[in-house]
C-alpha cells in the first residue's frame, strides 16, 4: 500500500510536467492547426530562463578574503549580497521561484516572435512540412543554448528552506517510508494551478470563448468576422508561457541541459496522442496518467516481471491506444482520426 501510494506521488510531478507541455501542444494544434515540434524547446528555454536568472543574481565581485592572512586570497561575493546583505542572500536562495517573474514576459515574447516570424507561414502547409520546419527550429534553439551554456546539466537548486522532504505517509496514516520532497509537491500544486488558470481563462473570458469556438470549428468562427488569427497568436504566446513555466519549475527536480526539451517533447507528443489530439482535458489527464504509469513501471517488483518495461511503457501505451482507439482517450470523434 505504502509503495503504491509513493509511486503515485512520484508519478504526479512528472505527470504534471507532461500535462503542462501537452496542454500547450494541444492548444496550438487545436487552434492554429500546427504540429509544433519546437514546443519542447520552449520548455527548455523556460528552464534556461531560471538558469540565466540565477546567473544574473549571482553576478559576483572578487573580494579579498580577509579570513586568510598568509597570502592574498580572493573570493567571489555576489553583488546582491554586497548591496543587500542577508536579504540579497535570501533572494539568491529563492532564484528559481523568483525567475517565474522573468520567465513570463520572456516566454511571451519568444512565443510571439516564433508565431509571427515562422509559424504563421505554415498554417496552410502540410503537417509534414510543419513537423520538419519546427524540428529544424528546435535543433537551432537547443544548439544556441548549448553554445551559451555548454553541454552539461546545470544544477539549479530549490530554496534551502524547502529542499527537504515531507513525511507524507504520516499525514495519511501510512508508514514512515512515504517521504516526498517538498519541491515536487510544490511542482504538482503549481502545475495544477497553471492548468486551472488556463482552463478558467478559456472557460470564463470572451477571449477564451472565441478560442474554444475556433478550436471546435475554425471556419465558422472566421466567417463570423472575428479576427481569429490575432487571438491565435496570443494563444501561441500562452502556450509558450505554460511550457516555459513548466521548464522553470522543473529545474530543481532535473538539472537542465540543452536537450531536455527534446526528451520531454517526444513523450509529450505521445501524451497528446493518448489524450486525444485537440482535447485539452485529454492532454492533462493523459499527462498525469502516463506519469503515474511510468512511475509504477519503474518499481523493482514490476521490472523483475517485465524487464525494461519502465523504458518503453509510455510508447507501448501509445501504440495500444492509437490502434484500439485512434482518436485517443478523450478526443472528439472525427478529429484527425485517420
Amino acid at each position: 500500500m505504502d509503495a503504491i501510494f509513493l509511486q503515485i506521488l512520484n508519478g504526479l510531478d512528472k505527470g504534471g510536467a507532461y500535462a503542462l507541455i501537452a496542454l500547450g501542444l494541444t492548444l496550438v494544434f487545436g487552434t492554429l492547426g500546427v504540429v509544433n515540434f519546437a514546443h519542447g524547446a520552449l520548455f527548455m528555454l523556460g528552464a534556461f530562463c531560471a538558469v540565466t536568472f540565477q546567473k544574473l543574481l549571482t553576478l559576483s565581485k572578487q573580494v579579498k578574503d580577509e579570513s586568510i592572512t598568509f597570502f592574498d586570497a580572493y573570493k567571489e561575493i555576489p553583488y546582491l549580497e554586497i548591496w543587500l546583505g542577508d536579504t540579497g542572500a535570501a533572494i539568491i536562495d529563492w532564484a528559481v521561484p523568483l525567475s517565474i517573474f522573468m520567465a513570463i514576459p520572456v516566454m511571451l515574447v519568444i512565443g510571439l516572435i516564433m508565431e509571427r516570424g515562422l509559424i504563421q507561414y505554415f498554417y496552410k502547409r502540410s503537417h509534414a512540412e510543419q513537423i520538419l520546419v519546427t524540428f529544424g527550429l528546435a535543433i537551432v534553439l537547443q544548439e544556441i543554448v548549448k553554445s551559451f551554456f555548454g553541454a552539461n546539466p546545470i544544477p539549479t537548486p530549490a530554496p534551502d528552506i524547502i529542499a527537504g522532504s515531507a513525511n507524507v505517509g504520516a499525514w495519511f496514516g501510512l508508514g514512515d517510508s512515504v517521504v516526498y520532497p517538498y519541491w515536487r509537491m510544490i511542482y504538482l500544486v503549481f502545475a495544477l494551478i497553471v492548468i486551472g488558470s488556463v482552463f478558467a481563462f478559456l472557460q470564463f473570458t470572451t477571449f477564451g470563448m472565441v478560442v474554444r469556438a475556433g478550436m471546435a470549428d475554425r471556419e465558422t468562427v472566421t466567417l463570423l468576422g472575428i479576427d481569429v488569427e490575432r487571438r491565435f497568436t496570443i494563444v501561441f504566446g500562452i502556450a509558450a508561457i505554460v511550457a516555459g513555466l513548466a521548464g522553470v519549475m522543473y529545474t530543481p527536480i532535473l538539472p537542465p541541459d540543452y536537450h531536455i526539451g527534446m526528451d520531454f517533447l517526444v513523450l509529450s507528443f505521445v501524451v497528446v496522442v493518448v489524450g486525444g489530439m485537440g482535447s485539452l482535458p485529454g492532454a492533462v489527464a493523459a499527462g498525469f496518467l502516463l506519469g503515474i504509469l511510468q512511475s509504477f513501471a519503474s518499481m523493482n517488483e514490476i521490472k523483475s516481471i517485465f524487464p525494461g518495461i519502465d523504458q518503453i511503457i509510455i510508447y507501448l501505451v501509445a501504440v495500444v491506444v492509437l490502434l484500439v482507439r485512434p482518436r485517443g482517450l478523450m478526443g472528439r470523434k472525427g478529429v484527425m482520426e485517420d
Binding site: R125, I131, V133, V140, P326
Partner: protein, 388 residues
Amino acid sequence: MGFFKLSARDALLMVIFAAAVLLAPIWLKPFGAAYPDLLQKFAIFGLFAIGFNILFGLTGYLSFGHAAFLGIGSYTAVWSFKLLSMNVIPAVIFGTLTAGLLAVLIGFVSLRRTGIYFSILTLAFAQMCYNLAYSVLTPITNGETGLRVLRDDPMVLDRAVGVIQEGSPIGDFFGWQMQGFPAFYFCAAMLIIGFYVSLRIFRSPFGLKLRAIKSNQTRMRYTGFNTRPYLLLAFVISGMYAGMAGTLMVVTDPLAGAERMQWTASGEVVLMTILGGVGTLLGPILGAVLIKYFENIFSAFNTDVLHDVFSFMPDWLENFFVTIVHPFVGEGWHLTLGTLFMVIVIFLPGGLVEGFNRLFQRRKKKASSEAAGSRVATGGEKQATAEN
C-alpha cells in the same frame, strides 16, 4: 532498351551514375573529399536516403523512426561477424533481412494510421528500440559501450575454413580487407545496386501506384486497390535499405552503438531527402552527400581556421565574421544543420533538384515562349466555343 530492362534515357542515367560513383575518388579530389572514410559515408548515407525516399518520396508517409532499422542492421552485422564470419556477405544479407523483419512488425502496426499519427507511431517505436538497446537488451547490444567484434569470438565459418585474421578483426570480402578504398568500392557497389532497384521501382506500375497513393489514397481505395499491402511493402523495402546502410557502417568499421538508433539520426535522413528533393531519383543521394560533406568540413573548422579563412579582411571585420560564423562550425555543426533544415523547408520545399528544374524550365520557357503563346490562344478559343 535491352540494357537491364531500362529505357535509353534511364540506361544513360544509370551509366553516368555508376561512373560518377566509381570515379568519385578522382573527381571529388578538388573538393578535398576524396579520402575513403568520407567517401564511404557518402555511399552509406546515400543508400539510406534512397531507401527513405522510396517510402517518403513515393507514398508521402513521413517516418520518424528509420534509425531503428539502421541500428538493427548494424547490430545484426556485428553478430554475423562475431558468430559466423568476418566475410561481409552474410553480414549484409542478415542485416538487411532482420531490418526487413523489424519493418514488417513496425509497419504493420504504424500503417494503420496516416499523417502525423504515423509519424508519431514510428517515432515511438524507434524510441522504444533505442531505449531497449540501452537497457534490457544490453546482453545483445552491449549498452552504452557499443558492440564490437573481438578476436576470440566464435566466427564458426572462419574457424572451420581456418582463415583467422591477425590483429583486430576487419570486415573481409573474399580476401579484400574492408578498409580504405576497397571498403568504399564495396559500399559503392551496394549504392549502385540500390540505385538501380530504386530506379526500377520508380519506373514500375508499383511505383506509379505508390505515387497515386501519395496523391489521393481515398481515391485509390475507390479505384479498387487495397492500399495497405502496397504501403507495407514500400515501408519494408525502405526499412531494408536502412538496414543495409546499417550493415555497411559495420562493414567499414566493425562497431555498433545505440546512438545510431536515436531519433536525431532519423531526423538526419529526413533532412537529406528533403534537401536533395523528395520523390526525385537523385535528390536524396545529393542531399546525403552534401550534408556529410559539409558536416565533415564544418566540424573540422575551429577559430584558428576561421581566422585563416577571413585573414584577407581588415582585422575588425575579420574578428566580426569569425564571431558570427564560429557558433556554426566545429561543435556547432548541428546549428548549421538545423538552420539548413528550416531554410530548405521554408524556401525550397521541393529540394535542390526541384530548384534546378525550376531554373532550367524558366530558361526553357523563355526560349519557347512563342509556342506557349499559341497554346494559350487555342485554350481561349475552346473557352469561347464553350460559352456559346
